[in-house]
Symmetry: C2
Subunit: 210 residues, 2 copies
């Protein structure tokens, strides 16, 4: 069995093939700018799903806000360990950024139980009390995304941006529609699709563009 | 903003909606059996992608082989930390199964460099030398999947089953087509789609069916 074994070549070749398929299925498709191109192509690279050409929405201030926060030692809060696993932590370490998934922690479980809310929501409450600039990277829990919006409305949470790509059938699409109405800098996937893998890929695309 | 906050209700409601959509888009669609139904629906739950109705292929012996291995303290080897993160480790602990992602380990990097192969391939070589029953859960690296097949052909690797769902544009589809030709018990996603999230979801579906 013959196959390409060089990781750099595999990645380069993948992005060539992705552009080739876009040329084929969507002749004349134009990305808004270079960073958006990188983000959307990495989303497709991670999912092999060309729906992301249409459903990935990046607010006007999102890229600048994310880059600025990442250059200023922001903390990335994920809603799953899976999203955290997929993020390039070497790059974040080099930038002096922190990253955490509070959802699995003991204090989060206690708070969730006490208040009768999801652990994802409790994790947002705990994050809100922490110092420093904040990026939320949510690939799973619409309840976390709703909680972020609620707390910011009540001026109980400061944040720089949200990568809001919860996947699923209960609240995912609706939560992202709500986020789109706010002035929070956002990257979202419209509709049901999304996921922890996508959330990580989007942050990585931003990191690789810096 | 009103939204469902109870995790059990969210999951139950999600699977109801998934069945409703299947009824709508594929009237008369029949799952082969109850476990296949659980696996495919969980794949859809994780991805919101109904393509998995058609592209998820489960070999005749796969479920029995996976269940038997999991009941007999098998080790799960993943090709990414992301897949490992997504697997229900509480269930695996209860069964006395082990789970690991060798790819990120120092010895794997050294071996890969020495041999000029991917770390994913080196991880398979290292796994092959370990004692005990083995399940490979591959959501990312076609090279790992090729390596598993090569080593088994050479009788240098014993394994019980492969969840082989690498995603991507270089070798992913081809590697899964090759696996389909072997007598290794397999669960695959045909074509380019797949992923670490899907790999984890498939193992979880098996665990929840036991």
């Amino acid at each position: 069995m013959q196959y390409i074994k060089n990781p750099m070549m595999i990645e380069e070749k993948s992005f060539e093939i992705i552009q080739g398929i876009i040329d084929e299925i969507r002749p004349g498709y134009e990305f808004k700018n270079e960073v958006e191109e990188k983000i959307i192509k990495r989303a497709i690279h991670t999912t092999a799903d060309f729906d992301y050409l249409d459903i990935l929405k990046i607010s006007d201030t999102a890229v600048n806000s994310l880059v600025d926060a990442l250059k200023n030692n922001a903390t990335i809060y994920t809603d799953t360990n899976m999203a955290l696993s997929g993020i390039n932590k070497k790059r974040l370490d080099d930038l002096g950024c922190k990253y955490k998934c509070l959802v699995a922690q003991e204090q989060t479980a206690s708070l969730a139980k006490e208040k009768g809310i999801t652990r994802s929501m409790a994790a947002v409450e705990i994050a809100a009390k922490e110092e420093g600039r904040k990026i939320f990277v949510l690939g799973n829990a619409p309840t976390a995304l709703y909680k972020v919006m609620e707390m910011r409305n009540l001026e109980k949470l400061n944040l720089d941006a949200v990568v809001g790509v919860p996947v699923g059938f209960v609240g995912a699409a609706e939560s992202k529609d709500e986020l789109e109405k706010t002035d929070i800098p956002f990257i979202i996937s419209k509709g049901r699709k999304g996921g922890s893998n996508l959330a990580a890929a989007i942050i990585n695309a931003i990191l690789y563009s810096m």
